[in-house]
């Protein structure tokens, strides 16, 4: 009985922790405070010399990093074997390289 209660408590704790990590989706009726071209420019600057090899194939607003939302860019390489680079540009201008840990 005690084991069952402990298991239940652990399950609830894990579920709560997991739910706190996942932010609600972006409210698409709210215009982003940073327009797409400006965010793209920030992402390209962050990419640096890799812009010769990588090119953008998609951009969308997500809430992966902040509840306020950010522009999330996917850059693919001309080399098929290279992994794509995922760059998030928050509306305040902060740039984050998403290495897939989150």
């Amino acid at each position: 009985m005690k084991t069952m209660l402990a298991l239940g408590a652990v399950t609830i704790a894990i579920t709560t922790l997991y739910a706190s990590l996942i932010l609600p989706p972006y409210n698409k009726t709210k215009p982003p405070s940073m327009p797409l071209p400006v965010a793209y420019a920030c992402a390209v600057v962050a990419l640096g010399s890799d812009t010769n090899q990588f090119h953008c194939v998609s951009a969308s607003i997500t809430t992966e990093f902040t509840p306020e939302g950010e522009w999330y860019f996917t850059f693919y390489s001309t080399n098929v074997n290279s992994e794509p680079k995922l760059i998030a540009v928050e509306f305040n201008g902060k740039v984050i390289f998403d290495n897939g840990y989150r």
């Binding site: 698409k28 009726t29 793209y40 969308s60």
Partner: protein, 174 residues
Amino acid sequence: MGYSAAFWMSLRPTFENQFDTGLDRAEDRPMNIRHQGPTPSPSPKPLGALHSASAVPVTSRRQPTMPRIAPNFNKMRYILFGLVTFATTVFASLVQPPYNNSKPPKMSLPIAYERAVVALGTDTNQFHCVSATITTEFSDEGWYFTFCSINHITMPKLIVVEFNGKVIIDGGDR
């Protein structure tokens, strides 16, 4: 353990209808053939010994109805198969293969965005871009923009800017 005669008589037609045994029935038997099997009697007997198939003349067996409908069924099957193949071919011809992401787009994202905003016209006051991806949904490859409205009820506007510069407002018909 004894059963009443009424029980056995009620069981007999049900058994024959379900399994189409073709076993002897008084009306099926030719008059000149003497029935040698056990006569229906009210006395109880085991279920497996209800009728003796060996005692039944071949002429009295009823033919199963399946062979009569089989040719029609085969035709229908071929027609259905043809229709499914045709529908699959039409659907496959409409769906384009996905974009090869290792190929750099011929038009960069900011230029395509600019063209999409021009196509949006005065609606730029109400609509804002929330996503842009490369698509092959239309004949040529291009950037696919989603513009959402500040109004909850209004549907988003979907604009495609092909790499050759052509702008299409996607009405969702395709």
